[in-house]
Subunit: 343 residues, 2 copies
């Protein structure tokens, strides 16, 4: 059934797509087989992360971006848009007020729009993993654009954003200076900065503040913030950026997402960024870093599963009990386990 | 040198303590040996997590809690207090304004206070790990209270809070309704809820809203939100809560941290919670879950390191290149690696 299913998903069957994503969320063996079969078909979609604090209006912006892509604002006709909402405050995930829900009805019924919200209960680390797999599915099944909305607060959400090729960080004027320290961390992942609610009086000073932070060098070299697991460390020939490479200067744009004002400028910036990524070789470098991190994660999971298959439950229980009783430190317990059950 | 050092730390030598924590942050082999030697001496401190959004005034609350513990507010004389600040907006980490810095001078110079701020650059996942180790060091070296301040936004920060025995979630009136959805997630980890800045007019409605959310069952069974890795799944005899066990009802308290108002009530609630944890058996259950999650994490790290020691760099490079070229899916590549290099 799996092969047929993959064919349906590749052919753009929405129901097959929705069912496969459910399988992916449940991490079934069917899902894993399908992901492997779909993987060679990936690499075409433009994956855009949209992140920012609650209250910045990023869901509305996602909505307007989707509408603009549908009406051909990016050039060369309308594009199909898949939306993945990982933000617990997003109307797409059901976290927001009635007005937002009504607004997102604009998108419903359009065959060129696919919306999927992801549960944020449980481990966000697992969610980062699942989101990456859902992006794979949407990419393989031919969606031109994949927009991933996250709340952008913790490391795991930064990881989700990092799966994207282009990341929009949305700010709003007057959210308070004490958030600045957090913003500094988020700025590092921004390819396009958007000050939404630009009709508010303090919008210009927010734009100025963001430009100043960018000039102060809060943005570090993209490559240096990549994952640095042991696997990455062992790779001798990681592609590096040539010293004369063009660099991307993140633009700071103003929007009023409620009225759609400024949205086409955001789309134009995303198009420029995509071109930059391809021409500068940055796309290949990011792809390489992302895949390295993914292999690192999968290897850990599989190695642990393999070890646990060999350890009798009682032996494991005894080790945990010793650590709980403070008779053995965790690190020592782990070494004991490995000495006994690894070759 | 390591054994002497451990003796100094156990004897309460502040300089040895500070130097060891630096070693822990750098994950040196000395640190690992010291952690193993210190581990049997842990389990005495009351570890309290203090979390909440930026602007709620939780740093000021931590400051006032520390002062109150020093002046004997918890009963049985003054207690020594170790503070770990993982919050990038905290004055303890240097993220906040001058007034806060002046306020924290109250604590400097008191030999019964130890303050350590943790860098939030880089991986928050790694930070959760390091924070747990620093808690181990402070616990073993005899600090009565360990207060851990985090910003409480992402999953990794929830993980940090989860290392604590008692977690205070700090709210402030009027931070906006759109933050509620996030609060719901944070509420699940709250043992004590504090509405700070209670002199603001909307404080009572904030208290009412939080009580309503608690009644609505936003708080799930503590046990069900524990880590559920494969290691935990394999443990047959995980201690479970008896059906007639007493449950903890998180109190909602009001404070004005700037003036110290309500702080002794928070301390009284923490004392009640600590007694509850011990008498209900919940402390043992949380300890068990925390240790299981830690062993899970350590096993993954060590297994990966061990595998990579066997794989030649060129072979690893070739595998990554195949995945980058979309010739092989990540999951398949990982299986190929394991088939070739594991016994």
């Amino acid at each position: 059934m799996s092969a047929e299913w993959v064919t349906s998903v590749l052919a753009g069957d929405r129901r097959a797509l929705a069912r496969l994503i459910t399988q992916v969320e449940n991490d079934t063996s069917t899902a894993r087989a399908a992901l492997a079969a779909l993987y060679p078909h990936t690499g075409r979609a433009h994956v855009v992360g949209v992140t920012g604090a609650p209250g910045t209006g990023k869901s509305t912006l996602v909505n307007e971006l989707a509408k603009a892509y549908r009406s051909g604002a990016a050039g060369n006709g309308p594009r199909s848009v898949g939306i993945i909402a990982v933000d617990p405050t997003s109307p797409f995930t059901g976290g927001a007020i009635l007005g937002d829900r009504i607004r997102m009805r604009d998108l419903a019924g359009d065959p060129g729009i696919f919306i999927r919200s992801m549960a944020t209960r449980g481990s966000l680390g697992g969610l980062a993993r699942t989101t990456a797999d859902v992006i794979t599915v949407l990419d393989a099944s031919g969606w031109d654009m994949v927009l991933v909305e996250t709340v952008g607060a913790g490391q795991s959400e930064v990881d989700i954003a990092r799966t994207a090729q282009s990341t929009i960080v949305v700010e709003a004027p007057g959210l308070g200076d004490d958030v600045q320290a957090i913003k500094a961390g988020i700025l590092e992942i921004a390819d396009v900065l958007v000050v939404n609610k630009a009709d508010l009086p303090s919008a210009d000073s927010a734009v100025k503040a963001l430009r100043a932070m960018l000039d102060l060098g809060h943005r570090v070299d993209q490559v240096t913030i990549a994952h640095h697991g042991p696997l990455a460390a062992q790779l001798a020939e990681r592609p590096t950026r040539p010293p004369d490479a063009r660099l991307w200067q993140p633009p700071v744009l103003k929007t009023v997402a409620n009225t759609g004002e400024g949205v086409t400028d955001v789309i134009a910036a995303l198009e420029r960024h995509r071109t930059f990524l391809t021409e500068s070789g940055e796309l290949a470098r990011r792809d390489h870093d992302r895949i390295t991190a993914e292999l690192d994660h999968l290897l850990r999971a599989l190695l642990l599963r393999r070890l646990l298959d060999r350890v009798p439950a009682e032996a494991l229980q005894a080790v945990v009990a010793k650590v709980v009783a403070r008779e053995e430190a965790p690190w020592e317990a782990v070494k004991t386990l490995m000495d006994s059950y690894c070759d």
